[in-house]
Every structure is written in structure tokens, then in C-alpha cells.
Symmetry: C2
Subunit: 223 residues, 2 copies
DNA sequence: TCTAAATAAAGATTTTATTCTTTATTACTT
DNA sequence: AAGTAATAAAGAATAAAATCTTTATTTAGA
């Protein structure tokens, strides 16, 4: 019969940021497998397709608490659902978008985001031409209404796509309105209270890495 | 007189990716300082504004080869120019954008990118309604013309903003056309030859990190 | 001209993430 | 039913990055 360990592994949480960023990649891959009718998938099989290290995949997936079976792998659908649940993609993540410029409009059109947890229910701006119009199905409102609406609708996720010059002040207004988590798509480093979650997605940062690597490789450096 | 060390520090290159991503933040901050007429700035002064560690700033800046003066700091304009030069922002980085959907259009409108090194000179799509029109000042062409044009204009930077389903095949076509560096804004993990530089900017990855941190903090976890 | 304060720069330490190695489990095969 | 091959899971080692510490430089002020 053997000895059964009774020690519960309880370090379920606290996944690293690189791990969190890889999890959506797994979801997309699993969705593709599902569409092909696959029932099970092993970590090495995923590794060869995604070109990750297979033990890293096992580690990444383990943060969700899911268990795979040796010789079989993971149940594809169960795995996808478990990751989605872990990331909170299946929760009602309603968000406000502030700054309805080009980038903001792109995100308003980017309906795939809904499948990945975020639903933008209103946008805010100061441009009178945009205010009280709709973009897609999303109303664009004057930014003054942010506070009252955030409270009434209990929205606490904000997406920041304003011009750089007003990014900091707008973010502060969002916090004052009860926004707890901000997805910052401006390149500005926001200074906000510690309890506010800020996720930066700077186009500039990515351009910088791309160009430097590109120019370095042109000069024949060893990558 | 003292002993003057004659050993040249030659590890000028090979900045880490986190460092490369911070460099544009410094540029933005320096631009602001310049607009206020500041002549010099010290690493600790920048640190207090940007909320970075000051020694990290010194380390980051040192990859460009610039030297600061004790008690004075760095010359603001010289520092900005040196970083821009290091990242290749002042070079002629002409790029093609492939996939003129919403996200692609947002980038076409995002003229600030020019100040950060990237100039999109043409966009490509398969949608007949878009082909041979212009978006802003940028022509949208049929994707079949990519190869010939890339060769003629010697463009080797590509921006990928297609639907996920065609991301891989489009990327392969770009590589065949002579594109050497791809800024991948799809969430797909591209499988391309090793000599091709790929920089991923996945919205999903960032949403994943944001939501997980948000939900974890709601549950009262220690950040 | 000398002293002291400020700061850059280099080195060491700590932390974090990835990769490698070992162990144990499970299903398939004979 | 037993052995074997495949694989997950846990742990160890390695690599990388951030932070901390020390040293040396230099300019401003006495």
C-alpha cells in the first residue's frame, strides 16, 4: 500500500510575473487543441510546439493547482478552464477606459479582450466631439462622470490611454474614483499609492528592445 | 597628480532587457527636464522622481558609455542624445506594418513612435476595401506587394498586427521578404529562424498580470 | 589651498527565475 | 499480473538581475 503523505502543498499562489505572462499563451494553445478535438496533452508535447522548456511548463501549470497524470498529461478543457479561473478571466472584470484616442479606440474594438477577462463598459474623454457618442457599443462620457459611475457600477479596473501630459493627473483622478487596478498604456511612470495595482504596457519600451537587438544583430554581435 | 587608470572598460554593450525597457523612461523624463530648462541632473535626483533605485539608474546609463560628474550629475541634453543614439532612435528605422485592423490603425496614428525611432512607411492587408487607400499619410497595400517593396526600399523591420489565425503564416511571409526584426503585437508565439529578432507585446499577457494581482490583492494577500 | 559633502562607479550580496536532476506515479505491453 | 516506458512533481543547481556596500572622484565652500 505504501505511505501516503498527508502534507498539503499550500504554496498554490504567488506565481512569478513571467509565469503569469506565459499562462495566456497556454490558453490560446489549448483553445487550438480543443478546436482540433484533442482530449489530453502532455507538457513535453506543448513544449515542442511552443518552444518552451517542458519542466517550466509543468511548473507554470502547477501554480493553478491542477494535477496532470503521468503517461497521459492534462485534460485539455479542464486545464484551460483551470488557468482561466486562476487568472480570473471568467470573473466579471468590468473596466473603464480613460482616453478615447487612437489607442483607446483600438482597445475598444479589440473584443477578444472579453474572452480574456476584460470587458470595457464605458470610455471617458474630455473631447466634446466624442462625448456622448458611442464607439462600437461603448459609450464615451465626460471624464467628470467617472467618479459617480465607478461608484455606482462598482468598477475598479481602469485602462489608461490618455496623452502623456495628463497621464499622472488622470490616474490620480481614477484612484480618487475608486479604481484599484490600472492598466497603464502610456509610457509614463505613474506615482500612485502602494495599494493600487499598476500594470505598465509601454510601446516605447518594446520598441527600444526591438531596435537595440536589431541593430546589435546587424553589427554581427552574438545576439 | 595621482595614478590614472588606463584600463578601458569595454563592456559597453549587452544591456539586459529590463535595462533596455527603462531607457525610454529616462528619455521621457529628460525631455521634460529639458523643457524646464534644466542643464544637469544627478542619478539620485532622477531616482526620487522616477522611484527607481539610484544605483540602478547609474548602472542603466553606464551601458551607453556616458560618464557623469560627481557633485554635478549628467548633462541633460547630452544624456538624452546618448541614450537615443544607443537605442538607435536617431537612425532611419523604416518599418512596414502588416495587418491594418484596429490595432494596426492605432499604431499608424501613433506618431509619437517616430520620436522613438520607428517610422511606418507602408501598411499591408488583404481587405480589398482598405487596399490602395491611405490611413493618415500611410498607404495601405496588398500584402502581395510586401516582398518586392521590402527589397526595393530596404525595409527590414516589420510590425505584426494581424488576426491570430494568420499571424504565423504572415510572419513567415515577412521573413521571406527580407524582414529581419518583427514587433509582434499578436499573442501568438511565433516560430521563426533564430536570426530573426522578435519582440512580443501581448495585450493578453499584461491583462493576465493585472487581473491576477488585482484579484489577489482583493483577497488581502500580501501583494 | 584644504576640507568636506555629494555622487559616480565598481564590486559584493541577495533575490528571483530558469534549467537540470532525481524521484515517484501511472498506464500500456507482453 | 508484472515489468517497462513515459511523464508529472519536487528538489537542487545555475544563471540573471536588482539591490546594497564600499571606494574613489570632484567640485563647492571655508
Amino acid at each position: 500500500m505504501g505511505i501516503r503523505k498527508n502534507i498539503k502543498t499550500k504554496t498554490i499562489d504567488q506565481a512569478s510575473e513571467p509565469t503569469l505572462k506565459r499562462l495566456p499563451v497556454y490558453i490560446l494553445h489549448l483553445q487550438e487543441l480543443e478546436s482540433k478535438g484533442a482530449q489530453y496533452v502532455s507538457a513535453p508535447a506543448m513544449a515542442s510546439v511552443l518552444e518552451f522548456d517542458s519542466t517550466q511548463i509543468v511548473k507554470d501549470l502547477s501554480v493553478t493547482g491542477i494535477k496532470g497524470k503521468p503517461k497521459v498529461g492534462y485534460n485539455v478543457t479542464e486545464l484551460r478552464q483551470t488557468i482561466e479561473e486562476y487568472l480570473g478571466f471568467n470573473k466579471k472584470n468590468e473596466a473603464f477606459l480613460v482616453g478615447a484616442g487612437k489607442l483607446g479606440q483600438a482597445l475598444l474594438s479589440y473584443h477578444e479582450l472579453q474572452g480574456f477577462g476584460i470587458k470595457i463598459i464605458a470610455a471617458f474623454d474630455v473631447d466634446e466631439d466624442k462625448i456622448d457618442t458611442q464607439y462600437g457599443n461603448t459609450p464615451i462620457l465626460h471624464i467628470e462622470k467617472l467618479g459617480a459611475l465607478a461608484e455606482r457600477l462598482e468598477v475598479n479596473i481602469g485602462i489608461l490611454t490618455t496623452p502623456n501630459s495628463v497621464a499622472q493627473s488622470t490616474a490620480e483622478a481614477m484612484v480618487k474614483s475608486g479604481i484599484k487596478a490600472i492598466w497603464n498604456l502610456t509610457p509614463i511612470k505613474l506615482k500612485l499609492p502602494n495599494n493600487i495595482i499598476v500594470q505598465d504596457t509601454s510601446m516605447y519600451a518594446n520598441v527600444a528592445v526591438l531596435l537595440k537587438k536589431h541593430h546589435s544583430s546587424e553589427k554581427g554581435e552574438s545576439n
